[in-house]
Amino acid sequence: MIECKNINYRYPGAQNPVFNNLSCRVGDPGFHALFGQSGVGKSTFARMIAGQLNGFAGEIAGKEPKKIYYSYNLERLPGWSGVGEHIEKVTPEANKSGISEIIESFGLSSCMDSGFSRLSLGQRNRVNLARYLLQDFDLLIMDESLANVDEATREQIIFKIKAMFPEKSFLYISHSVAEVSRFCRNILVLRDFSKSPQTLTIEGRDNVRGTDVVKKDLEQTMLEIVNAS
């Protein structure tokens, strides 16, 4: 569990702050979401949690999770090696047995011999996410990691992640209200700095493979998220 207390942050030279006394909790096991309008500071907040952005006032504390990874959708693999070769190389020995399962369920088997630059945007994002999932992590922040991936494949990937890593924490950043409402356990809605509190937590439907979501409940959750943001 990570506890954020009274976070205040303003980008150098910016007139308005991004965060104004932001307080919240993240990092429980499960598939959670960070939701908010564009420019509200989702990626900034994610980078803070991951320890990649300093210079803010307030406190981010918590003993667990220890290993936090932040992946985003514009990442690239080095051009000198093929996708399969790269994944093999960066996967810790203990996790190598999981490579084929993830690659197959992500629909990437045909990409393993290709160069990264030859892949489509959706394939690139899936490859990038796959290599992060093969690391030893406690919390994985997925910043639009499934952008440019079709809806059916996204669903398959999220179900697979939930089934494979039930003890791990995920913070999924997406702009799709329907998606976060259906698949995520808790949705942390990040709001504009002028609103207080700056975050609200909405309970999602946490849908897993083989179960159905009642349409009315889903719509209710979506409405709550829209109202909160």
Partner: protein
């Protein structure tokens, strides 16, 4: 690639000659100032063999000087990319020292080291070293965040990997800079020979200048141009081979697509 370089040079050379003959005709200048075509031809027949070996001599010094400066720029560029005090010191020193014209220091080098090979080599290396160094520092100190992010945050980043990523991502720029600095190495060697050495085509040009013999200078320029074009073409060819080897997967992919 080679023939393109040669065509370009020969075209420029003959445009220059045509300009000289036009000036000669317009101002009615004597053959003593600008020689006629037959004079140039006769001089070429007389000095071609000697100048050929002089240019080869100069080119060999330029190539060694170029390799030396490449090695130095790579090492110093790798250190200069660092964001600590050492990197900062090297960057500042490189920017300040390169502002001083090396040619102005050349006489001092001849006084200290004499008029032999070492002086020519040092001046050639120094003249092409600083432009190379500034480019190398610029390229190697610019993070490729989209690729490096994963390695940095998974604790896998090593300096060798960082240099490899940045060099690979800027391969075309590096090749252009290396090929461009080859001309500077040649210029540096000729200038050093012109100033104080006792060998090479720069030295021959100096003798021709004392004799006010423009024909010899024109023949020397022709040979310098041919050999420099040859060297540049070889460098470009090597650059293409390196690019293809490093990016073989992309190249293979392009072929498959085609």
């Amino acid at each position: 690639m080679l023939h393109k370089r040669l065509y370009q040079f020969v075209l420029v050379y003959f445009i220059g000659l045509a300009f000289l003959f036009t000036v000669k005709g317009v101002f009615n200048l004597s053959d003593y100032v600008i020689p006629g075509i037959s004079d140039i031809y006769n001089t070429a027949r007389r000095v071609f063999a000697r100048y050929f070996f002089d240019v080869l001599n100069t080119l060999s010094v330029a190539i060694v000087g170029h390799i030396l400066s490449l090695a130095m720029a790579t090492v110093v560029g790798i250190i200069g990319r660092l964001s600590n005090w050492m990197g900062s010191l090297i960057r500042t020193a490189a920017f300040n020292i390169q502002a001083y014209p090396i040619v102005a220091v050349a006489p001092m080098i001849f006084i200290l080291l004499g008029d032999g090979l070492s002086s020519r080599l040092l001046i050639a290396a120094m003249i092409c070293y600083f432009p190379l160094l500034l480019s190398f520092i610029g390229i190697l100190s610019e993070p490729v965040t989209d690729i490096e992010h994963f390695y940095v945050h998974s604790g896998r980043m090593r300096w060798q990997l960082e240099v490899k990523i940045r060099a690979f991502e800027n391969m075309n720029k590096l090749i252009t800079v290396v090929a461009g600095s080859a001309t500077l190495a040649m210029v540096g060697t000729i200038v050093s020979e012109f100033i104080g050495a006792s060998a090479g085509i720069g030295y021959s040009i100096r003798i021709a200048l004392y004799q006010s013999d423009l024909s010899k200078i024109l023949v020397a320029l022709f040979l310098i141009g041919i050999f420099t074009s040859l060297y540049l073409a070889v460098l470009e060819l090597l650059g293409n081979i390196v690019s293809r080897r490093w990016g073989k997967l992309e190249v293979k992919g392009e072929r498959q697509k085609a």
